[in-house]
Amino acid sequence: MATAIGTIQTRYGPATVAPTGAGQTIIHTIANWMWLPALVMGAMAILAAIGLGIAQADAARDLGEGFSAARKADFETLKPLTAGTLFLGEALVLSGISFLLATILGALRWGGGEVQESVGGAVKTLRMPWSAWAFLGLMMLGVMAEAAAFGGLVYVATQSHDAWAGATAASIPASVEAFNRALTWATWANPLREVALGLLLGGIAFALYTISNVLGFQFSRLRELITGRDEGGE
């Protein structure tokens, strides 16, 4: 990592000036390592959700043939698990995409520094802008919210199982308390899993916005190097 010899204000935000290029930050390094595992885990979770969905359809068919408490309990248990696993998978895929966008930002930071250094000029590097912090915050919040929603839906599944195990009719749960708990938890856990996806999508929007700003800065720096004219650093 180069030692900064000064800070300047550009129209793209504050930037540091150093004799050598800035390396990648810890966030970029994590992104370089994590994008593929996140995508693979997401795909695996989605496949698992498809399996759970098929099992749920099977339980529904069994239930159609004739009511039994075990069949009803299976069906009601699999319902929140399928939804939770599917959305967890989607959140992991969106996290993988977010990590990939962070690797692009890292490549722009590192590559831009390399180009400036090879030309022999001072290396100007944009400081982490507010939109990048927003991207990071929204992404982390989204992943945590999705994990919480998944935990909530697993609890709904356990309560649903308790509610229907031992039931004597399709419309009367064996444990009304467990049934009510499952309903109340599902009322907020289902929207929370969608909120998590919204947060991740918001993070992606901010990441793309940051990329456009960083690209603008890099083009500006290239123009400076070509023309030898300072474009606004004071």
């Binding site: 309903l183 929207p191 909120v195 918001g202 929007a205 793309l208 990329i211 456009s212 500006s220 123009r223």
Partner: protein
């Protein structure tokens, strides 16, 4: 001076415009430039509103279990209809924000490439 032509790049032939000065952003890129952040912000706000509706609905669900009340039931069902509306409108606007951000990037390439 403006001229249109084709550029042969490898096996691909690309239509291009030849000008004596860099081009400005086109309409879609200008829209993306100004609207990317407002769209993302509005989308996030709508998703947050949807979650608040979900929390209120969960509270009503608890009240309804304690004892039936027509007002609570009506509010519970009404919020149940509003919730997906707010949530998915938020998603749509967020995806619009992502599209505008991509248009913004294309605008930077168009103007920056021309200026370099």
């Amino acid at each position: 001076m403006t001229a249109a032509g084709t550029l042969v790049l490898g096996q691909r032939t690309l239509k291009h415009t030849l000008t004596d000065r860099p081009l400005a952003r086109n309409l879609a890129q200008s829209a993306g430039h100004y609207l990317a952040l407002p769209m993302a912000g509005m989308g996030l706000m709508l998703v947050a509103v949807a979650f608040v509706i979900a929390l209120v609905r969960a509270g009503l669900s608890v009240d309804l279990r304690a004892g039936f009340d027509a007002g609570d039931k009506a509010a519970f069902e009404t919020l149940g209809q509003l919730l997906p509306g707010f949530m998915f409108l938020g998603f749509a606007i967020l995806l619009g924000g992502i599209s505008f951000s991509i248009a913004r990037i294309l605008g930077v390439f168009r103007t920056g490439g021309g200026e370099v």
